[in-house]
Structure formats: structure tokens, C-alpha cells
Point group: C2
Chain length 313, copies 2
């Protein structure tokens, strides 16, 4: 048994939030807890466990506080929740989360359609949340996730200058970091390199995670491009939950299993044990009967003779 190496990248699992809020079925709370524990047991140390939104809008997330309470029992886990506004942040902070993530759309059209607010309004919302956090929970971190950063199904192209400006504004408004999300799977590796290079030039260590989608099959290539630009935190969803990658317009999150396999095969330590990660699919599948679950590596299996953490020749 090899001693696991110090992780060189952080895989931030978003399935329990991003995945579960995208499927029609509501996973029973006990399954959510089992699933989160299994993800933790596999070595994941940042999990987006819930979204603090009104239960009438997203009944799948009605148990958010209870799910957070469970996740907080897992030592060393960063318990993250999505909050769409100040009200959500109040509830999430009351529940005791370690990290808030706030989506801010770079596409003017998407922002209005999705949350009926302008991008400027959303920056002000970030400022309000940062103020609340400073006042009542200064140890909690706050991330802005710049969504539709690589394009938008409503307006098409999103000017790169606007993406970077918004990311900088969110940090100026009090977010600890701004990450970039390819919400609709439009990104390509050259664009990923350009945008993260600019983001890192502007924000340094406050440049946040890459949240890539596999809608057009480029998810891992885009993660690789981001890695090569110095990004070290990657969002992914177990089983690719969060939209069927074969359906038009679907979200198609990057599959955690495939992403971890890519990095581990490259010799980039993730801290995640691949066998246990595969085992974490069991409570996911049991808790969402009939829901399709994806992943090429789980289907194909690991290569013959593959030893995780073994030095590569």
C-alpha cells in the first residue's frame, strides 16, 4: 500500500447540489447523507452539498440545512453551499457552512432570464453577502462563480472583457475568489487558456475554480487547458450528474471519475482514491433509481496494472 501523496489539485464535488437540483427526482435525505459520506470516504475534501433556495422553487433542496448538518460531522471537509442571494446566504450561514458560492452570470441576457437581475445588481448582492459574512461569520469563505463565462445559449458569445471585469468586480465587492463556469458547454481549450490566464493576471491567488461542462465532449480537454494555466481547483460531478450529456441544451457536468482518472494517470495527485470513488456511485444510483449516470472510466475500468500514486515512467 503506497502512502497517498499530498494532493496537487483540489477536486470540488458539486453533484449533491448541481447534480441533484438538475434532476426531477428528489433524492431522499438519508441517501444524500450516505452519498456525501461515500464521497468523503473516497477522499473528496470540498463538496457542494446543497443550494439555499426557497423549497417551493427547488423541492430537491428542501433539506439543505439537514444535509449541511450531516456534512459538518465529516472532519476536514469543506462544506460548501450555493446561495443565489442574501436571503440564501443568511440561511446557509445559519446552517453552519464553511464556504458560500454565489453564481453571477457574465451574460447580460442570461442574468436577467435566470435571476431577473442585472449583472450590476448581482455584484451588489455579492457585496451584501460579503458584508453579512464579515459581520457574523468571518471564517466562512465566499466564492463568486462567473457563469456563462465561455458563452451563453441566449446571447451566444460573451465578450471576454466583460467576463474578466465582472470577476474582478466580484472580488472587489468582497468575494474571496472568482471562478469561471462553462455553464452551457461552449468552451474550447484555447479560450479556457486565454480567460484563465487573464483571470490569474488580474486576481492572482484570488482566481478561483474551473467549472467545466462536457456537453460537446471537451470537458476534460478544457480542464487540462485550465490546469496548464495554473488552475488547481476543478469542479466535477460524480456520474456526470447535472444534465444528460446526450441531450441538447443539457448541462453535462464533467464526470468526477474521469477527471480524477485523468489527473492520477498524469501523476497529478488528487487525494481521491479511484476505487472508493467508484464505490460512491452505489448510493447515488440507489438514491436516484432510473436516473442515468455517466462516466467512461467507470464503464471501461482502470487500465491493467494501473496503480494509483505509482511513479510514472
Amino acid at each position: 500500500m503506497l502512502k497517498p501523496p499530498v494532493p496537487q489539485v483540489l477536486i470540488s464535488e458539486v453533484g449533491p447540489r448541481d447534480g441533484l437540483q438538475s434532476v426531477k427526482t428528489t433524492m431522499p435525505t438519508d441517501y444524500k447523507k450516505r452519498w456525501i459520506t461515500a464521497l468523503y470516504d473516497a477522499g473528496l475534501r470540498e463538496i457542494e452539498v446543497a443550494s439555499f433556495v426557497p423549497a417551493k422553487l427547488l423541492p430537491q433542496m428542501a433539506d439543505a440545512a439537514e444535509v449541511v448538518r450531516h456534512a459538518l460531522t465529516l472532519p476536514g471537509l469543506t462544506v460548501m453551499a450555493l446561495v443565489p442571494n442574501l436571503l440564501g446566504a443568511q440561511a446557509a450561514l445559519a446552517a453552519g457552512v464553511h464556504k458560500l458560492t454565489m453564481p453571477v452570470s457574465a451574460s447580460a441576457a442570461h442574468s436577467l432570464a435566470n435571476v431577473r437581475k442585472t449583472r450590476e445588481d448581482m455584484v451588489e448582492e455579492v457585496r451584501a453577502i460579503a458584508g453579512l459574512r464579515r459581520e457574523i461569520a468571518p471564517q466562512v469563505s465566499l466564492e463568486a462563480g462567473i457563469s456563462t463565462a465561455f458563452g451563453c445559449t441566449l446571447q451566444g458569445e460573451v465578450p471576454e472583457d466583460e467576463v474578466i471585469r465582472l470577476a474582478v468586480q466580484c472580488v472587489a465587492a468582497g468575494a474571496d475568489e472568482s471562478g469561471l463556469s462553462d455553464t452551457v458547454g461552449y468552451a474550447n481549450p484555447a479560450q479556457v487558456r486565454r480567460l484563465f490566464r487573464r483571470l490569474r493576471a488580474e486576481l492572482g491567488e484570488q482566481a478561483g475554480a474551473a467549472h467545466m461542462h462536457n456537453t460537446r465532449g471537451l470537458g476534460l480537454a478544457n480542464c487540462l487547458a485550465a490546469y496548464e494555466e495554473g488552475v488547481r481547483t476543478f469542479d466535477a460531478s460524480l456520474g456526470g450528474l447535472g444534465g444528460c450529456p446526450h441531450a441538447p441544451g443539457a448541462s453535462g457536468n464533467v464526470v468526477t471519475e474521469d477527471l480524477v482518472f485523468m489527473f492520477e494517470a498524469m501523476g497529478v495527485a488528487t487525494g481521491v482514491n479511484l476505487d472508493q470513488l467508484m464505490a460512491a456511485r452505489v448510493p447515488l444510483i440507489a438514491g436516484l433509481p432510473g436516473e442515468p449516470v455517466y462516466g467512461m472510466t467507470p464503464e471501461a475500468g482502470l487500465p491493467k496494472g494501473f496503480v494509483q500514486g505509482a511513479p510514472r515512467v
Copy 2:
């Protein structure tokens, strides 16, 4: 209408050979011709159209000479065929192909299991084919495709020194170039970079194509890594034909549609028109009823506002 830019990469379509020989159904000859014409119409200028092997071993390829004859009517197309040995090369040259590709396995175990020859025997076969070519068809080019170059389902790891040595031996034996194939989908981007860097250091312009598989979802990431090392020829298969990517042990060729989308989105001209490439799926699907056909970009569609060949911002 934008004038199509000069291609910066060559997409070498292997579906009519690699794809069709992997499925149980035999595509009728007329469909093969229609399909090859549709691929050509989309802008593909190198197509592996057939394999010259005994019809009793691969009945799907019994019409190889007739398929080559049809492909030769398409102006500017490099008509390529796979030949496993000297006999196959004689038949392919008699049929009039422009380019021969000869698979040589880097895995000792795979070579014996697959063709019942050692790697050294296969280098001698390359030498014999190169001799024949020189004698009767000096204008025809000859590529050695080093298979299992990134690992093998029989022996597991394949030492990188052995891969490079074999590639160099094939060129020394008279091949014009040696490419590297991830026959079983074991490659990762770091390994792809290492091996192609070494290959190009050893062989310069005689370093050949990257033939990547998507068995574990890393196909495009591996192509990206090869591109960044200077590789400019990429094998791919329309619809990912050549093994179901969801079945253990399947081949899972890189999907031409997704690969072309990745490069075009990056601003790397392929010479291939994406709309016409999608249209080339019609004769493929019609000629292989019931056979699964893959591709994320065809399922999701092109991004809103995406204009092929448009300058990227």
C-alpha cells in the same frame, strides 16, 4: 460566406476501415461509397478506406479493391488502406492506394496475440513492404502505426523506450513516418506529451499521426496534448465508430465531429465543414442500421452564434 482558411491540422478519417471492421454488420458497398463521398464533401482529405486482409478473416472488407477504386475518383483525396503484411500491401498497391498504413504493436504480448509475430518480425515486414513499394509504386507513402504505444490490455504498461525504439526501427526499415496509437484507451495527456516529444526529437518530420481512443473519456484531452507537442495529423472516426465507448474493452475511437469542433472552436483550421460533417452521418447510419453512433457535438448542436472560421476574440 467566409473563405475557408488553409488547414492547420490534418484530420485523417479512419471510420471506413477502423470503424467498419469493428462492427459485426457489413456495410453494403454502395453505402461505403456514399459515405466516403460524404466525408470527402465535408472536406476530409485523407481517408483510411479499407483493410487489405483475407475476406475470410474480415468479410466486412471483402470489397476493399472496389471501395478504393471509388475513393480514387475523388480529386485531392489521399486514399489510405491498412495492410497487415506484404501480401496485403501487394493487393493494396494493385488497387492503386496512395498511402499504406501498417500496424506494428509496441507490446510484445499484443503483437504475438494479434498477428502471431514478434515485433522484430513486424519490422522485417515493414522492410519488405517498403522494398516492394520502392520497386513498383515509389509515389505511394508508407506509415507505420505503432499500436498499444500507451499501454496494453494484455501486458499492461509498455515501456516508453521500447515504443520509441520500435518507431525509429520502422522508419529505418523504410517507413516514411511512424505514428503512435492508443489502441486500448490507456493514454493520458502527460504521457502523450512525453512520447510525442521523444518521437519528434528522434524522427522530426517523420513523426506521424496521433491515433487516440476515447475509452476512458480522455480522447480529446490527449489530442490536445499531442497538438501542443506539435502533432498536426489526428486520426478520428465519424460517430466514434470502432467500438462502443460504453463497453469495457471497447476501442472507442475519437469522434471526428467532436475533434473537428474542438479544433475549429480553438481557431485551428481543419479544412472540414462541420455542417457537412454532420450530414456525413446520414449514409453511415443508413448503411449500418441499429449500430450505435456517438458524438457529443452532434447531439448538443453547435453553440449559438458559432461561425466556423470566424476570428476568435
